[in-house]
Symmetry: C2
Subunit: 298 residues, 2 copies
């Protein structure tokens, strides 16, 4: 960025300087589209580290103070903290400032913005579908979002200029940006992400409760079990928040899954080899087709 040009985003405030927020800053800095970055958080060591490695130019613990001259604010905190963060910035957020986020569910996020932000039309909800198992500023890297999908879910009242700016921001991180309805996003993510997490936690608990004297069923678990349950090693706190913030969509997907399981049960009870083969084959084909189309980007 030459000093003569005005950057796309003059002052970016990132609330929550971890893997997600930190990687946005590094990507935008690398793309040369951001002027000054202020980090907000509670953990002093993490914030100092973020400044030392060039993620933020300054930091503070005070959200209200930080957003006072912000152009864009990015929320990258657990979704259980959204209400309090929105409330904390309500009085000092400039009228021109645009707010976006990186949370895993979108309807609840929009509801919280409508309730707590003075200009909710300038909140544009986003969900970059990327992450690693690591956390904290030290885990951030500029390439995290490259070629990943970022779903943006504007509503009828959204400001067109705010939407355009937020789309540019996420595109500049390297994401493939798509816009869609928040409810549809929440359904799809419940289906391919939130439900699998719930099911993995549930399956490990079923095995755990079966542990008896003498023998331990876990002794017989192999590579298939390891892969199937990998997501059951995810953060319980984060997944509690996601499950509750997307409760209705998740309940709907849980219904659909239990219907499938009931179908499998019926086929087993009836010794219906043809039906089992048909169901197993259809699943295998669908998965292989998905991998062929999307496997490279994983």
């Amino acid at each position: 960025m030459s000093s003569a040009e005005k950057p796309l985003i003059g002052h970016l405030v990132i609330v929550g300087v971890g893997l997600i927020g930190g990687s946005v800053s590094l990507a935008l800095k690398k793309a040369g589209v951001v002027g000054h970055v202020t980090g907000v958080g509670r953990n002093r060591d993490n914030l100092e580290l973020a400044q030392r490695i060039g993620i933020v130019d300054a930091w503070t613990h005070d959200v209200g103070e930080a957003v006072r001259d912000a152009d864009v604010v990015l929320l990258a905190v657990p979704m259980s903290a959204y209400a309090s963060v929105f409330a904390a910035m309500a009085k000092t957020l400039p009228e021109h400032a645009v707010v976006t986020d990186a949370g895993s569910t979108k309807q609840s996020t929009i509801i919280a913005a409508n309730k707590f932000l003075p200009g909710p039309e300038r909140f544009i909800a986003a969900h970059p579908i990327a992450g690693t198992e690591k956390s904290g500023a030290g885990a951030a890297f500029a390439e995290l979002y490259e070629k990943r999908l970022c779903v943006i879910t504007p509503v009828g009242d959204s400001s067109a200029t705010a939407l355009a700016l937020v789309m540019q921001l996420w595109e500049k991180t390297g994401s493939r940006v798509v816009t869609m309805d928040a409810a549809e996003h929440d359904d799809f993510l419940a289906s391919v992400s939130h439900l699998p997490h719930l099911a993995a936690f549930a399956l490990v608990n079923a095995v755990r409760r079966q542990k008896s004297e003498g023998h331990d069923p876990f002794c017989f678990a192999a590579g298939g079990f390891r892969d199937f349950t990998r997501i059951a090693s995810s953060s319980p706190e984060m997944w509690r928040d996601i499950a509750l913030s997307n409760r209705d969509a998740l309940l709907g997907q849980l219904d659909a899954f239990q219907q499938e399981l009931n179908g499998m049960r019926e086929a087993l009870l009836a010794d219906d080899a043809d039906r089992l083969l048909k169901e197993f084959s259809a699943a295998r084909e669908a998965r292989e087709a998905w991998l062929a189309k999307h496997g490279d980007g994983l």
Copy 2:
């Protein structure tokens, strides 16, 4: 093996010369405990390949002919073929010969042996918990069973000498041999292996049926989904056979899993954050404990 010594197994007949059967032969040859190995199968190309790469010394399509002077017979065919293979060897199997297998479920295997074999006390059921996603003689390798668990499930009528020989055979492949009750084995394997496969197939089908115009939920699937559903790319035919051959245990484990899911549903409906956190945390801890204890051997 010096020519002066008599090997543990003079003549081994392997019915089904694929990854599982072929690897047993290679491991026993490497250990120097087998004299002559005859392979039995239907696919001529596969059998010729097996002979060329030293898995078998001879081969035939005829089970009855092959077992005529066998000391040990190993079944390594799909479980749906057990009845016909047992029946085919019934007339020619020598009285001293011992039979073992490598199938994933054990009660149904024992029932089939009791029904079709003339001397069922000399059938010792085994389940080596090992495998790769590949199949065929070309995929076999001598180290497949090294340090893997091999569960042997003798019954009250089992011949003690047959049991001793089969235990030695599997130990010589490098397995860690344990004996246990067939019903308990089937319950545990239903829990940590068969149910996860059923659940992975069911989950992919739930997503598949949700595909609508315009948007495809698979587009939003990422690494977690890939790992969770990896086993849904397994052979539909093999898993149909396993599911049906272990039907009752699998139905029991499916009940236990659906109870866990119902518990999650109740917690979601009640917005019970504490209960969700407790369940998710317990699952995570159990999985981490399992990995700490058994992760190296996977």
